[in-house]
């Protein structure tokens, strides 16, 4: 696919828009792509969640943080360059059975935020009441605000209190009145996911957690990305049985 736009959303956070052939029909919120870096040195593709989809315009949007050599190179890559994209991959968030009357919560942090953007929109399209709680280190790092506000209610937390609630998302949620969410979807660092598991364990909400894992193939061929559920040890591959798992079953 061709890079048609690339912009900085916040320090070290970039949005990249890719145009071209893609299996748009199969792409669901929570799915990811394996992006081949435009330099033969790298042996592994990089997994990145789909943050937005525009089948008619034939574009997908990825939002990534520059953390290492690969994302640094991606950031350096000029608009116009072709990128080899494998995907959509992964199961995505289960939303088929969400009713328009449901009250759903999205919880995210850091680079776990992008897939929630696509999810929020899909749930809003279904007519649900969407609440999103996301946390950042500081106000300058916030992105996605508008997208979440457009699709429901946004609860913002920053570690330093420079915007929204001061503290992490877990602490933010603790201050909220007990709500009867029917479904909770979360993506972010393991700490955040564990917090969500604990916080909603006693509720009747269905919990869906999107996981990260170091991947080689991204398609279920190498057993590199495994995770354990209550049914076994390393019995699930994040790339095919995930990245989204039932939060009551997956062991973090």
């Amino acid at each position: 696919m061709r890079i048609i736009a690339q912009e900085e959303l916040a320090p070290s956070i970039y949005r990249i828009v890719l145009y071209g052939k893609f299996d748009y029909a199969q792409a669901r919120p929570g799915c990811f792509v394996m992006l081949k870096l435009p330099d033969g040195t790298y042996q592994l593709r990089r997994p990145l969640a789909i943050a937005a989809l525009a089948p008619l315009q034939e574009t997908i949007t990825l939002i990534y943080r520059v953390v290492g050599d690969g994302t640094h190179l991606l950031q350096q890559t000029a608009v116009g360059a072709q990128l080899n994209i494998l995907g959509p991959l992964g199961n995505g968030f289960p939303i088929e059975n969400v009713e328009s009357t449901e009250n759903v919560l999205l919880v995210g942090g850091g680079t776990g935020v992008p897939p929630l953007m696509l999810l929020a929109q899909a749930l809003k399209d279904k007519g649900c009441k969407v609440t999103t709680a996301i946390g950042f280190r500081t106000a300058a790092l916030i992105f996605g605000e508008k997208e979440f506000e457009d699709n429901g209610q946004l609860l913002l937390a920053t570690d330093d209190g420079s915007k929204g609630f001061q503290g992490n998302v877990g602490q933010l949620l603790a201050t909220q009145p007990e709500q009867t969410y029917t479904k909770v979807y979360a993506c972010g660092p393991n700490g955040l996911l564990q917090m969500v598991q604990t916080r909603f364990a006693g509720t009747t909400a269905e919990i869906y957690l999107s996981l990260e894992s170091r991947m080689a193939c991204g398609v279920g061929a190498c057993e590199g990305c495994v995770v354990s559920t209550k049914d076994g040890t390393y019995n699930k591959r994040v790339c095919v049985e995930g990245p989204v798992f039932n939060g009551r079953e997956v062991r973090l």
């Binding site: 042996q43 894992s213 991204g218 398609v219 279920g220 495994v226």
Partner: protein
């Protein structure tokens, strides 16, 4: 000579229309989404993920780390065990691709385990050959020791050969002082062929945590960075041992395949290259004939004969 027969090669148990197969551990049991990206019938054969007697959960995550021109993996032979493989994995593969030769990679912690897996696997009627994995750097029992001590390697080969109903290729570890000694030992043990090389033992350390990245600390290094080591070992072994060699280690292109042939290979396997290029195998198969033409190579079988028949004239 037809384009087809140019690529055909014949090895014990493996009558291959072309010499290219996915390497063990990089293509599961053919039950992954790579299989949606091309028709596996295009492959010369497929080498499946290691099978052990009991299911193995493998090593702690992270299991994958990238290095410069390489990948470290410490999967640790995760597999559902030989019985599940025979009941659930191989029948599906066999039914979908009835003519695709299957090479079963087998591993164990003790000789008895290897023998038992070999017995069951080779009796299934669904595999054309065994690949005896005596070289996995990622398991703490057995695994590597079987591949670093010539005597143990020879005994194991002999024991497996006694029960196997299909030819046995022994997969050698590069983590040894003298690869030729191991190759000679497994040849004496009755191996029908060799498969080389498995991964080199390596490590990466995360600068922030100051700890190894991999859950298992060390892992096996694969990819194009190790190709010169593979070429050297195949060259040395092919001059000392009269067994066909399935070559692997960093192959990414038709040129790499031919370099392996010139070193002494009879067939090739592709592992790490899949991760960047899911259609690495069919791409290489397609590219081979014209690359061979450029280099005035009429057929792979003639190239094998030339390279491996030519040693006496070699200085």
């Amino acid at each position: 000579m037809t384009a087809a027969s140019r690529l055909a090669v014949e090895l014990p148990g493996l009558n291959l229309k072309n010499p290219v197969m996915p390497a063990s551990g990089c293509f599961g049991f053919g039950d992954n989404r790579y299989a949606e990206m091309f028709d596996l019938n295009e492959l010369g054969a497929i080498i499946i993920k290691a099978a052990t007697l009991k299911p193995r959960a493998g090593n702690p995550v992270p299991r994958i780390a990238e290095t410069t021109s390489g990948v470290l993996n410490a999967v640790g032979l995760q597999n559902p065990g030989v019985d599940v493989i025979l009941r659930e994995k191989l029948p599906v593969l066999h039914q979908k691709y009835p003519t695709l030769p299957v090479v079963a990679n087998i591993a164990g912690a003790t000789q008895a385990e290897y023998v038992e897996v070999a017995k069951r696997m080779s009796a299934s009627g669904m595999v054309s050959a065994l690949e005896l994995n005596i070289s996995c750097p990622n398991v703490h029992e057995g695994g590597m020791l079987f591949g670093t001590d010539p005597q143990i390697a020879q005994q194991l080969t002999k024991a497996v050969k006694e029960v196997s109903q299909v030819p046995v290729y022994v997969k050698l570890s590069p983590n040894v002082t003298d690869i030729v000694a191991i190759a000679q030992a497994v040849a004496a043990g009755g191996a029908d062929g060799l498969s080389m090389i498995n991964t080199l033992l390596g490590m990466r350390i995360d600068l922030n945590s100051r700890k190894p990245i991999l859950g298992n600390k060390t892992g096996g290094l694969s990819g194009p960075g190790i190709k010169p080591i593979a070429v050297r070992m195949i060259y040395q072994v092919s001059r000392a041992v009269d067994l066909p060699i399935i070559a692997m280690g960093g192959i990414e292109s038709a040129a790499d395949v031919l370099e392996m042939y010139m070193a002494g290979a009879s067939a090739v396997a592709i592992g790490t290259a899949h991760f960047n290029n899911p259609t690495a195998c069919p791409d290489i198969i397609k590219a081979l004939p014209s690359k061979m033409e450029d280099l005035k190579i009429n057929s792979l079988s003639e190239l094998i004969a030339e390279v491996r028949g030519g040693y006496p004239n070699d200085d």
